[in-house]
């Protein structure tokens, strides 16, 4: 059952990625409808999958790397839908959905064993930590997509070689604005996630000194990068290309952190 649902989601996202890409280049309205439909089906399967998994494990999807990947990908799609609905940014899907597909595909190769968690007070902090962090990461992934789109568009305008993407993609202002908005939401969430994670660690191990440094320092880097982008925008007029590069660099750090945790 779980396998079928998982495959449905994977195929749905793959189909949607291809659809969005074709739409990006050829602008066939039918293809965009198909892609949106495929994402809808995939998201439904994805939600069912998380539900099944939670019933099986008896807790939310945050314990094993497989579950975290599943949950993160799911949140990205949800945040993507909200962004699409609010800002109507053309072709965001061409960049976000392939990312979701890759995360889910990768998660499929991870161990799907169920780990049991004892109920305890620290469990609350862990849940909070994972949820807040995942929300932050989902927002960062949208910033990442917006950043890539910004760099492509900026390169075209700057080099005066206006290819097909120039006409298809939104303006630099819209992309820069989206980058700012999602980081403004994502950074505080991630910060809170970071703090609740620290509290959980303290509760579990009775002391900051026992922190796993290898797992912690990349998170600090992630925090510093997004912090620079966020506060840089607020106080030093950091915007445009540098903000886009920051969002991309930050997300690369996020991915590295995930791999270190795996």
């Amino acid at each position: 059952m779980g396998k079928i649902v998982f495959n449905t989601a994977i195929i749905g996202y793959l189909g949607a990625s291809v659809g969005y890409f074709i739409y990006l280049v050829y602008r066939r309205p039918l293809v965009s409808t198909f892609a949106a439909g495929a994402v809808g089906v995939a998201l439904f399967a994805h939600t069912v999958l998380i539900g099944l998994r939670s019933m099986e494990t008896g807790h939310g999807p945050y314990t094993t790397p497989f579950e975290v990947g599943l949950f993160l990908a799911w949140l990205i799609v949800v945040v993507f839908f909200v962004t699409e609905w609010k800002y109507h940014i053309k072709d965001l899907g061409s960049f976000v959905i392939p990312l979701v597909f890759v995360i889910l595909l990768f998660s499929g190769f991870l161990s799907q064993e169920v780990t049991l968690v004892e109920k305890s007070e620290s469990q609350f902090w862990l849940t909070l930590h994972r949820t807040l962090s995942a929300l932050g990461y989902a927002a960062f992934s949208i910033a990442f997509a917006a950043g890539i789109m910004y760099l492509i568009q900026e390169h075209q305008v700057k080099s005066k070689k206006l290819g097909i993407m120039y006409f298809r993609m939104p303006s630099l202002e819209v992309l820069d604005d989206l980058n700012f908005k999602v980081i403004t939401i994502g950074f505080p969430l991630f910060t809170l996630g970071f703090l609740t994670g620290a509290i959980w660690n303290v509760k579990m191990q009775q002391g900051l000194l026992h922190w796993d440094l290898l797992k912690t320092w990349p998170l600090v880097i992630v925090w510093v990068v997004y912090g620079l982008v966020f506060f840089g925008r607020l106080f030093a007029g950091l915007r445009g290309k540098k903000a886009a590069q920051g969002a991309i660099l930050g997300f690369v750090a996020v991915i590295s952190t995930y791999f270190l945790h795996v």
Partner: protein, 424 residues
């Protein structure tokens, strides 16, 4: 009438020089009277005149194609007082499917001087509503033109034919909108009052730019243009310190050297906290140091860059025209199917009339030879002969109606018309 007998006679910018075109044009009042005159000809069933500065075309449904085409040509020649012998070399004529395809190409702007321009569709719509109001069009032309509008819409939506600006100022506006999206909250500064700069500024204003600054070496000219554009005039020595207020800067001075240098822009961009500036340098020799484009959040296009964009856009539109043609070809086919299905009705009517005529003639002959028959007997024979004809023609009628819905419908129609000798 197995064929719709659609014909089209016309001249356009490609076949005909402007001095002939202007003499052939039908101005607004003349169109109505001409349509009425054309409807008066027994050979013309429906007609419509499209007259723009680049083309004069008459679309008509006629009883016979060749005769119809000649009639239309003659009409144009007589109406405008130009000898047909002289005009003949300019005319192009299409019939049936070709005429349909031509109209679809025209309304989708594939036949326009500037490929993909939006004006022509409006002109075709005007021509149609004029003709429709006068009832010079009927079922076939109405359907044809309604279809042409939906084809044009499809072409616009599904291809990039109208997507790219093909003039310097529209390409500049497009770039501005790819940098700033919504131009409403953005400002433009003109440095120099060249004509092209003014045109570009007006174009930007039409897209919502509200704040306009004008700087010129002669302050009076700045004031004059600023008044025209509802903006604010600056002295030439002022523009540098105000540069940071402008999102878009258009330069067009006659200065022999660069008047906007990299360091100047660097200062402005710092003052703006890195908000982007789009420089458009229309001046020759150039007004802006090219190194300005290397600064982050600054975009500089000179006249050659913009021309390069325009040329690339024209090429792209030509490519898009090919996919537009695919749409048109399939739509012509669809329209043709409609016409074929429609034409079963007149054929059936003609077939029945033919049979009825024979019956009546034979009845007359017979009754003349049999004067002793009573009234009741006569009407009984009348009824019987009618029933025979109806019964014989019933199956062919039903089958013909059914077949004309299929792809091969026109073959059946042709066969029926040939077998019953309906076309002489």
């Amino acid at each position: 009438m197995a064929e719709p007998n659609l014909v089209m006679v016309g001249v356009n910018h490609r076949t005909t020089p402007v001095e002939i075109r202007e003499r052939l044009a039908f101005t607004r009042g003349k169109i109505e009277s001409s349509l009425e005159k054309l409807v008066g000809y027994p050979e013309i069933v429906e007609n419509l005149i499209l007259s723009t500065c680049n083309r004069v075309e008459i679309y008509a449904r006629v009883s016979n194609c060749d005769a119809g085409i000649n009639l239309l040509k003659q009409f144009v020649s007589e109406y405008h007082n130009l000898p047909l012998s002289e005009l003949n070399k300019f005319f192009y004529c299409y019939r049936d499917e070709q005429a349909v395809e031509h109209l679809f190409r025209v309304s989708s702007s594939l036949d326009s001087m500037v490929l993909g321009e939006a004006q022509i569709l409006g002109q075709v719509k005007d021509a149609y509503s004029t003709a429709r109001a006068l009832r010079s069009t009927g079922m076939v032309l109405n359907q044809l033109f309604e279809k042409a509008f939906s084809v044009a819409k499809r072409v616009r939506e599904e291809t990039g034919i109208a997507e790219r600006g093909v003039s310097i100022s529209s390409a500049a506006v497009e770039l501005a909108r790819k940098i700033f999206e919504d131009l409403e909250n953005h400002s433009v500064m003109l440095v120099g009052t060249g004509e092209m700069a003014e045109l570009a500024a007006k174009h930007l204003i039409s897209y919502g730019v509200k704040t306009v600054y004008v700087a010129s070496r002669t302050y009076e000219r700045a004031v004059k243009l600023a008044t025209d554009l509802n903006g604010c005039a600056l002295g030439f020595d002022q523009f540098e310190e105000e540069l940071h207020r402008a999102d878009i800067v258009i330069t067009s001075t006659a200065a022999p050297t660069f008047i906007i240098k990299q360091a100047m822009v660097e200062r402005a961009i710092q003052q703006r906290k890195n908000k982007p500036i789009f420089f458009i340098d229309i001046a020759v020799p150039r007004d802006i140091e090219p190194g300005v484009n290397d600064l982050e959040n600054v975009y500089l296009y000179d006249i050659d860059d913009l021309e390069g964009v325009v040329n690339a856009n024209i090429k792209e539109r030509e490519k898009e025209a090919e996919s537009a043609m695919e749409i048109i070809t399939s739509e012509v086919k669809k329209f043709n199917n409609w016409v074929v299905a429609l034409d079963a009705v007149p054929t059936i009517v003609e077939m029945r009339n033919r049979a009825e005529n024979i019956r009546r003639r034979e009845m007359e002959k017979t009754l003349r030879k049999m004067p002793h028959l009573s009234r009741e007997d006569q009407s009984a024979i009348e009824r019987m002969t009618s029933t025979i004809i109806n019964k014989i023609l019933h199956k062919p009628t039903v089958n013909l109606k059914k077949q004309t819905q299929s792809q091969e419908g026109h073959v059946y129609l042709k066969a029926i018309r040939h077998l019953f000798h309906l076309d002489d």
